[in-house]
């Protein structure tokens, strides 16, 4: 490994994660490649404003999510939401244990974009709450609350139960359901 990695090399290194974030956030493979392309262009144009040795991935994710939310606002979000709601309405909630790729994507798309983004940054990408909050331009406490709400919402949807009721925590319930 060379010590002087070029900015371009660093960008290329980040592309797989940018694509995963863009795809999971937008729910659209084609759009996600456009978002990544736009992000790379903007990053290149503004590479002088990147502080060396700071978190390049967080900086790139910030550009990407801002690009997505600009697009999202422009494309009339109510309409998009209705489309997604209609698309998903006929699909019965999957069993939590059988949750596959598509189910996960659909469930994510039913979350509000803010909650989806929070969950992806923390749970999937593994950002710290501090970095994720910086990416989204919100307070750390807001980030924590979004992640918590997003998780609860997903669980509620997938099990048809309110969080807190979903897993029996008393012995009787465990005995009666598993026969142990």
């Amino acid at each position: 490994m060379t010590e002087t990695k070029s900015f371009g090399d660093s960008l290329i290194e980040a592309i797989p994660n940018l694509r995963a974030f863009a795809h999971s956030l937008s729910g659209d493979a084609q759009l996600s490649n456009d978002l990544v392309q736009e992000t790379l262009l903007k990053a290149w144009t503004h590479k002088d404003s990147f502080v060396p040795d700071s978190n390049l991935k967080a900086w790139l994710f910030t550009i990407l999510r801002n690009t997505y939310f600009t697009y999202y606002r422009k494309s009339q979000r109510e309409e998009l939401d209705e489309d997604h709601a209609a698309m998903n309405a006929s699909v019965p909630p999957p069993q939590l244990t059988h949750l596959e790729f598509d189910d996960m994507q659909k469930a994510l798309m039913r979350l509000s974009p803010d909650h989806r983004e929070a969950l992806l940054l923390i749970t999937a990408e593994g950002f710290s709450y501090e970095d994720a909050a910086r990416v989204c331009g919100c307070a750390v406490g807001t980030m924590k609350s979004r992640v918590n709400r997003a998780r609860n919402r997903l669980l509620e949807e997938m099990t048809g139960q309110l969080p807190g009721e979903a897993v029996p925590d008393d012995e009787d319930a465990v005995k009666s359901s598993s026969g142990r």
Binding site: I15, N17, N33, K42, A43, W59, H115, N152
Partner: protein, 79 residues
Amino acid sequence: MQHRLDAPEDCKRTDGDFPEPEGQPEPEAAKGPLPQLPGFAAQLIGQRMRAMYDTIAQEPVPDDLLELVRKLEAKEQQK
């Protein structure tokens, strides 16, 4: 194509355009602290989400994205 040139800095939203969801009444917000998500289910959701995310991250990077970066580099070196 007109790009917004303030991308890295514009992480602060303009409130009018995109109101924070926290400003809207949410039923569960009124009831005080949220119940804790059962650990097992939280773990499972986390695992599935990472699996989905990793699947996309492991896809081969489209050539046009790689070419874009290399072209930008080449253009700069010509200067």
